[in-house]
C-alpha cells in the first residue's frame, strides 16, 4: 500500500486523538468507588484556623507538675520508654532555659529564677515548618484546615530528613521495635514500628472528638490550647496580656507555642 504525506498525517492525527480519548476512558474505569459525600468529620470536632499553645511555666514547679503533663501524653500515645538514652522517644519533655532559648542564655546578669527554670517542650506546629519542606514522601504535612503539623506513619520511610531539619528537636526515631518498651498499651491508639519518625501530633485524635490535647488537660492551666487566628480566643488574650517569647524565632519557622515569661503584675 502506498501513501502520500497528506494521507499519512491525516491517519496519524486521527489515531492520536482516538488514542488519547481512549486512554482517558480506560483510566476512569474503576474509579469512584467512594463518593466524597460518604465521608465527613465528626460534628463534635474542635475547629480552628491555626491551633497554638501558651505555656506558662510559672504554674509548674515540682517534678510532679512536669511529669504529669509528660505522662498524660506518653501514656495515651503508646510512647516507648527506651532504656538506651540515645534511642529516647519523646513527644513532650522538659529541658533547661539554656536549651530552650539558646540564643539568650549567655546573659550572666539575667533573672536567676528564670534562668534556672525548666520548660516544657513539644512540637511547635510551626506556621512555616522546615520538616514538612524536606519530607520526600509527604509523610509529614501541614493540615490546611487547622495548621497542625501531622505525621502520617503509613508513609514515613524513616529517612530522618525531618529530624535534621527540625530546629527544636521535636522528632524522635524508632531505632528499635517500640512495643517491648511500652509498659501499658493504650488499646485505642496505635503504636509505631521500627524505622519511623514520631512526634507530637497536637492530639489530633482527641480534637476530632471534641477533647483538648492531653497535656493541656493535665497541666492545671499551665498549658493553654486555642486558636491563634481568633482574636477572642483564650490564647490570644493571654498573649496580649503577658510578655511571651517563642523558641528560635530568628529561624522564621513561626512556632505556635508561646512561652509566658514573667508574671502579669510586673509586665
Amino acid at each position: 500500500m502506498s501513501m502520500n504525506r497528506r494521507q499519512f498525517l491525516k491517519l496519524a492525527s486521527a489515531s492520536t486523538v482516538l488514542g488519547v480519548g481512549g486512554a482517558s476512558v480506560i483510566s476512569n474505569i474503576g474509579r469512584g468507588n467512594l463518593e466524597a459525600a460518604q465521608i465527613h468529620p465528626d460534628p463534635r470536632a474542635l475547629k480552628a484556623k491555626r491551633w497554638g499553645f501558651v505555656v506558662d511555666v510559672s504554674k509548674l514547679s515540682t517534678d510532679e507538675d512536669y511529669q504529669k503533663c509528660v505522662n498524660a501524653c506518653h501514656d495515651i500515645h503508646n510512647v516507648p520508654n527506651n532504656p538506651n538514652p540515645r534511642h529516647e522517644v519523646k513527644w513532650i519533655w522538659r529541658d533547661t532555659y539554656e536549651h530552650t532559648f539558646p540564643n539568650t542564655a549567655e546573659d550572666k546578669i539575667m533573672n536567676k529564677e528564670l534562668q534556672e527554670k525548666n520548660f516544657l517542650l513539644f512540637c511547635n506546629h510551626c506556621q512555616n515548618p522546615a520538616c514538612v519542606r524536606v519530607c520526600p514522601t509527604k509523610a509529614t504535612f501541614k493540615r490546611a484546615s487547622d495548621g497542625i503539623v501531622m505525621q502520617d506513619m503509613h508513609r514515613c520511610i524513616g529517612c530522618r530528613f525531618c529530624m535534621a531539619a527540625c530546629p527544636f528537636g521535636a522528632r524522635s526515631f524508632n531505632y528499635t521495635d517500640p512495643r517491648p518498651n511500652i509498659k501499658v498499651e493504650n488499646k485505642t491508639f496505635p503504636t509505631r514500628m521500627i524505622g519511623v519518625v514520631e512526634k507530637c501530633t497536637a492530639c489530633y485524635e482527641r480534637l476530632a472528638i471534641g477533647q483538648q490535647p492531653a497535656c493541656a488537660e493535665a497541666s492545671s492551666g499551665a498549658i493553654v490550647f486555642g486558636d491563634l487566628d481568633d482574636p477572642n480566643s483564650e490564647v490570644r488574650k493571654l498573649i496580649a496580656e503577658k510578655y511571651t517569647i517563642r523558641r528560635k524565632p530568628e529561624l522564621g519557622t513561626q512556632p505556635s507555642i508561646y512561652y509566658v515569661i514573667g508574671g502579669g503584675e510586673h509586665a
Partner: protein, 132 residues
C-alpha cells in the same frame, strides 16, 4: 530415532511426575476459606451487618481501608456514611476490630491462604482473640 524406547519411557515418567499434583487433586473441591464472624460482639447484633454489604466488603475492603486511612490521617474525616444510610466511626482498632475481635479467624485466615501480608499490625494493636 535412536534409543526411542528409553526416551519415550522417560518422557512418560516426566509427564506423570510433572502433572502429579494436578492429577491427584482432580475433581476434588478446593478447601473453602470462610472467615469466621463468630464473635460475641457480632452474635449480639440483632441484625448482622457491616458498614457495607458482605460482597462489597469481601472484594473492596482493601480500597475502603486505604480510603479511610487517608481520610482520617490526612483530612481529619472520621465519620463514614454506609450505603445503608447509617453513620460509622472510622477506626481500625476502635471500629472494625471491635466487632471482628477474632483477627486470627477473620483477617489472618484469608490473608494466609492468599499469602498477602498487610502491614496493619506492625503499628495497630490487634484485639485479644475473642471467641464465642
Amino acid at each position: 530415532m535412536y534409543n526411542s524406547g528409553k526416551i519415550i519411557a522417560g518422557l512418560a515418567v516426566f509427564f506423570i511426575l510433572a502433572t502429579l499434583p494436578f492429577l491427584l487433586n482432580l475433581g476434588k473441591a478446593n478447601a473453602k476459606i470462610e472467615p469466621s464472624i463468630d464473635t460475641p460482639e457480632i452474635n449480639a447484633m440483632p441484625v448482622k451487618h457491616c458498614v457495607e454489604p458482605k460482597a462489597f466488603m469481601r472484594s473492596e475492603h482493601m480500597q475502603l481501608l486505604n480510603t479511610w486511612r487517608d481520610e482520617v490521617v490526612r483530612n481529619g474525616n472520621r465519620i463514614y456514611v454506609g450505603s445503608d444510610g447509617n453513620e460509622y466511626g472510622i477506626s481500625l482498632q476502635n471500629g472494625c476490630m471491635k466487632c471482628h475481635s477474632n483477627k486470627k479467624e477473620f483477617c489472618d485466615k484469608c490473608h494466609n491462604y492468599m499469602a498477602v501480608v498487610p502491614y496493619c499490625w506492625s503499628c495497630h494493636i490487634a484485639p485479644k482473640e475473642n471467641k464465642s
